[in-house]
Symmetry: C2
């Protein structure tokens, strides 16, 4: 083995195997593992994680990283070194004792959160959340760049380049446009009755249609598995093993369908990553926001469009002949696009979704800079929901306790959900200039869309940073105006606000 | 950390996590993984395996093993050191280059075997098998004891203390009794018509009954998962996560049922291992043969007995009212105990099963001592089937190519299947002296049986060597006479040979 790069890759292969094993355990715990397995399995997952940590932070890997950087490398190899070095640097700055303490804290916190949510008992979660907020801010602080706040460093962990300097104006723009647009929609007097979607839909038939739907939007069952779990998610083990879940409700036809399209959007991204990149540190998506752009683009801009349903709705109606009798394609599309401000982010409609994210962003910012105490969260949360969405939670279960993220230490993650929408709108517009997306959808030629996305976005994995990828795919820098225009045009049209 | 033993356990935890991950990947590949995942996943499994190897053979672990042995330890801790030292010693004796070569050889061989079996093309498998036989004999030779042959060392890997010195007389005894008993059965003129078991049995109903059956014989679904795969198997990740599979055939009612009982027998063993032992090197069964004794005892001695079906058959008949109409419990029990010499080991009846194993034992012995060439195997195989069972394979697919074992390098494993039967008969007899097994079964009180087995066998895991465990559970040394008596009594009775 002459090249240091190749020697470094022998360590990378070990880390990949450990990471992939953790991924499979994660999938298994959510989908199939027996009830009583969790505690012992978590201990073993902890061991895999610390073995990963030990390899990445070892002096050998540090030395090889320096030596390999001197060798002649292609773009992908340089990106692999970049990602390894970044992660290694981040981990090495954290005192080992603190890292272990934080891992234990978050490992136990999710259960405490789950119980608190179940019992509508924020007080029992507050001390853990206080500790998580403190520790994650301190840990992020070790890696912060010149001039950054701790919260900026936390934001960068998920979306490099998108600190408060970018997000403050971004969310201000969303707020400025979405809040009045929502008010206009609500005052339009054009409420949509979605009653038919709440009829009783046989779960087995739903399974059949959702499988069809996943395949239709590009999910390759030769390289993927579709399972069921409480909360839908996607996990990519490598580009030939990508898994999604959905969750079926008998009286909510659309829930599983749009989860399936959403997760399939994530999955197709992972399946389309170049063979040369899979099982390397640049195999995943370019960033959280870029990943989310592919799921939101598929779920909303594609999956809720009239053109998408033109070839598909007859099949759905055929399968549920009684339940959807008398519901036209046009009515169906209006139902799946209805605006209805609600308390729960994951069930939000397309127009109000980013307001849920905005609320979390504002709260996290104040929490981390110290101007907001954990004990004040429920009150502030409820006030903001009332202000932006016109609804007020009656319990913390459907308020501040609804999301799992903070219990896992993921503070700073939420904004990537909103960025994903904005990236998606910008990408859609660029794609639509090159291929007529609506015509493709009407003809059922969705592969022309996924091929375009593969060519411009997916195949690069994490080789290019998200901002660069966006620029190259769309021809311009990040521009949230596309998203504002998209929402305005769509909902102005649907609710006759012209 | 003062004690060297505790320090050693930090390495053991890493190895356990790596081993458990491999176990989960194995389960996943057989049950759920997408078709195209295998190659990349195999590479990652190889990495986990070599990380395991690196830890166990590291100088640190060697030193800690020596130091910990000087400390005050309880029986389980001593057993853990014993098992670790044995496995470390075995691996350290194998030149690293040879170990890697052998791992690659067997990793690729299973696919070559599968294709050869599919195409009835022994010649295409012969070169790989030749190489496997050579290498596995050489590798086993590194660990052989004074006076042992290479084949003895291979046998000991699976069943310590059971080399040719024990197995030659054991198999001679089986042959001496089973061959004439089989002849008498075949000449009794009392053929059993099992036609009703080949009617069409709805798979979903079979699933329902098999789940019930697994739970009935002690499989705890809070700690276990039941899946489906081509070939049924059991895998224990720890004592709170044990998984079995079965395989359903519409026209073979008994196939899935007895696979389920068999695998549940293995699983209950793993579930009943003491909490203090799980996730240690002594968590599994005492030996391959002892593990097999628990599955065969449950499948045959319990699961095919009239007493077992007395409370259960009405439920089966209720579920398949049309299909089993007019089939009495007595007739059903005769059908599931019918003797019918056949070509395939895994489908063999209880009386002929050990003859299939005997044939493999004789062939392996000659193959490893060099008196038989791989190219002669098909001919010898077919001749022995004709001699012992009175049936002759028309193809190698249903002859010498039927089993996966040799392609995986498992030469010397087969005898543990026969030993399992003999251990089971001896254990059954001891248990029957303390609790009246048939009465328990008639009253549906199978938990009294599993409790006895847990107390006497299961809870010890691998702490006691199999021979010692057998002696303590039954009050005497290994005695295959119990098995001969059991078979003779059972089939003499069933076929009116008195």
């Amino acid at each position: 083995m002459d090249r240091k790069y190749d020697e470094l890759m022998t360590y990378v292969e070990k880390m990949q195997a450990l990471g992939m094993a953790q991924g499979l355990f994660g999938w298994d715990l959510e989908t199939e593992a027996p009830r009583e397995a969790a505690a012992l399995t978590a201990r073993m997952m902890g061991s895999l994680s610390s073995q990963y940590f030990d390899i990445l932070t070892s002096p050998q890997v540090g030395e090889l990283l320096c030596q390999a950087a001197e060798e002649e490398l292609d773009e992908a190899q340089k990106a692999i070194l970049r990602e390894l070095a970044k992660e290694r640097d981040r981990l090495c700055r954290i005192p080992a004792e603190e890292y272990r303490e934080y891992a234990e804290l978050t490992a136990g916190a999710t259960q405490i959160w789950a119980r608190a949510k179940e019992n509508n008992d924020f007080a029992s979660f507050a001390p853990v959340l206080t500790r998580i907020a403190e520790m994650s801010a301190r840990i992020a602080g070790y890696s912060k760049k010149e001039g950054q706040s701790a919260y900026d460093a936390m934001l960068w962990q998920y979306e490099e380049g998108f600190g408060r300097d970018v997000l403050d104006p971004f969310f201000a723009l969303l707020r400025e446009h979405i809040v009045p647009l929502l008010r206009a929609v609500m005052e339009s007097g054009r409420a949509v009755d979605a009653g038919p979607l709440h009829r009783s839909f046989d779960i087995d038939k739903q399974r059949q249609f959702n499988r069809y739907l996943a395949e239709y939007v590009g999910f390759d069952f030769g390289r993927g598995v579709m399972g069921e779990s409480e909360h839908p998610f996607t996990i990519g083990l490598h580009n030939r093993d990508v898994r999604i879940t959905t969750h079926y409700y008998e009286n909510l036809l659309e829930s599983a369908m749009f989860s399936t399209i959403h997760e399939a959007g994530h999955a197709v991204y992972e399946m389309n990553v170049d063979d040369a990149l899979t099982l390397t540190p640049v195999a995943g998506g370019a960033s959280c926001g870029m990943h989310e752009s592919q799921s939101r683009l598929m779920e909303n801009m594609i999956g809720r469009s009239p053109a998408f349903w033109e070839p598909l709705y007859p099949k759905l109606q055929e399968l549920f002949a009684d339940e959807l009798a008398g519901v036209s394609a046009g009515e169906f599309v209006r139902m799946i696009n209805r605006v209805s401000p609600s308390l729960i982010r994951t069930e939000a409609d397309e127009l109000t979704y980013c307001l849920h994210v905005l609320i979390r962003y504002e709260i996290e910012k104040d929490l981390i800079d110290g101007s907001l105490q954990v004990k004040e969260l429920p009150q502030v949360w409820n006030d903001k929901y009332e202000e932006y969405l016109g609804v007020r939670p009656l319990t913390d279960t459907e308020g501040v306790l609804q999301d799992i993220h903070w219990s896992q230490g993921s503070i700073g993650y939420f904004p990537s959900y909103a960025l994903g929408n904005a990236f998606a709108a910008q990408i859609y517009r660029a794609m639509d200039r090159e291929i007529d997306v609506e015509s493709c959808l009407r003809r059922g030629e969705i592969s022309r869309i996924t091929e375009w996305l593969k060519e411009k976005v997916h195949r690069f994995g994490r080789v290019k940073p998200a901002q660069e990828l966006l620029r190259e795919a769309t021809g311009e820098e990040f521009n949230p105006r596309y998203y504002i225009d998209y929402l305005t045009e769509k909902f102005t049209g649907l609710y006759g606000l012209k």
